[in-house]
């Protein structure tokens, strides 16, 4: 397994830090991509940060009320070695589905 750290992203408009309001996940949780991770407050607004990827939460940084600077570690995920670092999603192997049926008279000339 490999660990991937996700830093606090640039939340825009020149903001350099954010305050943790509430963690929505805990270490040990399996999260999906885009699942809300944490609610943070900036001088502009309170926002929920979606997860950039699927994985198991290993560590979270900062409790409610703590300030985190942009670029500092926010959360660390654990992912299987063979998917660490990929851009995109590992495709699932699915049973083939069809709607089209073939009909043909095959002349054997």
């Amino acid at each position: 397994m490999a660990e991937i750290s996700f830093p606090l992203p640039d939340l825009g408009e020149g903001l350099i830090e954010a305050t943790v309001l509430e963690w929505l996940v805990a270490p040990g949780d399996q999260v999906e991509r885009n699942q809300p991770l944490v609610e943070v407050e900036t001088t502009k607004s309170a926002v929920e940060l979606p997860s950039p990827q699927a994985g198991k939460v290993v560590r979270i940084h900062g409790g409610p009320g703590d300030k985190i600077n942009v670029g500092e570690p926010l959360i660390v995920f654990e992912v299987p070695d063979n998917t660490a670092g990929i851009v995109g999603t590992v495709p699932k192997e699915e049973a083939p589905k069809r709607r089209v049926r073939l009909s043909a008279v095959l002349d054997e000339d």
Binding site: G85, P91, P96, V100
Partner: protein, 365 residues
Amino acid sequence: MTGFRQAQSPDAKSPEAQSPDAPSPDPEAPAGSHTVTLSMQQALNRALDEVLAENPRAVIFGEDCGRLGGVFRITDGLQAKHGASRVFDTPLAESGILGMSVGLAMAGFHPIPEVQFDGFAYPAINQIVCQMARMNYRSRGALPMPITLRVPSFGGIRAPEHHSESLEALFAHVPGLKVVSPSNPHEAYHLLKYAATRPDPVIFMEPKSRYWQKGDVDLRAADTPDAGPPTGAKVMRHGRHITLVAWGAMVARCLQVADLAAEDGIDVEVLDLRWLKPIDAEALVASVRKTRRAVVVHEAPLTSGLGAEVAQLITQGCFDTLKAPVERVTGFDVPYPSGDLEDEYIPNIDRILFGIQRVLEYRRG
């Protein structure tokens, strides 16, 4: 198979050559068996490991290829095993990666660079087309370019823009380049080992949506007298009524379609083209002279895609026996879409079945 020159450099080995320091067969394999089950990731990794062990002039580099082992883990562990002078990271600059490859090849090395994603090859087109592809020609053979450029290619993994391109027609159009794409772990292992022994530059297009699927790899196959070197196309399923021509990730899909067509009484042959430059016209014609019908399937856009070239080669060789014009089932003439629309863009099972139906229904006059 024409178009392949034998290696001129004393360092290039024939695929039959076995070095004593080559890695031994997998210890996990049952005794006496030369077949192991690997994902395409693992098969490519193993091939690169063996190439490094067998050829002291082989070097591997690219973005994240060294310490991380590549974003797709294809070079995983190779830097630790073979050292940072043979497997190393480069700056994020594809023109530099390919420019360095050309220079290293001129100095007698056998570079195996990686461009991390197909869409990142565009910044290196000048080095690929104007230097790498023609240096051998320009120098009248004094400066061969034994470069194997690995490019994770095609779509299917819900990646953002520039990560899902199909560049085979672009590369195949450039004189001096060879282009190949494996369809499963066995092909990946043997085609990469073979490509890395060629004296000519080879664009090695890895279908990234197939990286994780496992399959049996017969480690000996390329060395057996029956199989010969992995040049040309390969029939992946024999059939009587129609030939599906595909490469890369589309081969697996065509094999699924062949199973479904069999339920309807249609016996489909699936031809894996493997080499996209040069194309194995002999194998194409042999298959379609038997089935008398053909559909070519690719992810790349329709217009001026390789499907047109395939259709012409079939028409040229089978005009008198063809039952219907060759059909093409392809991506659309649009930039590769975002992940949510990917399943509509890439030829799916129903679109391929429709293509077969159009050919079966065709009547002259």
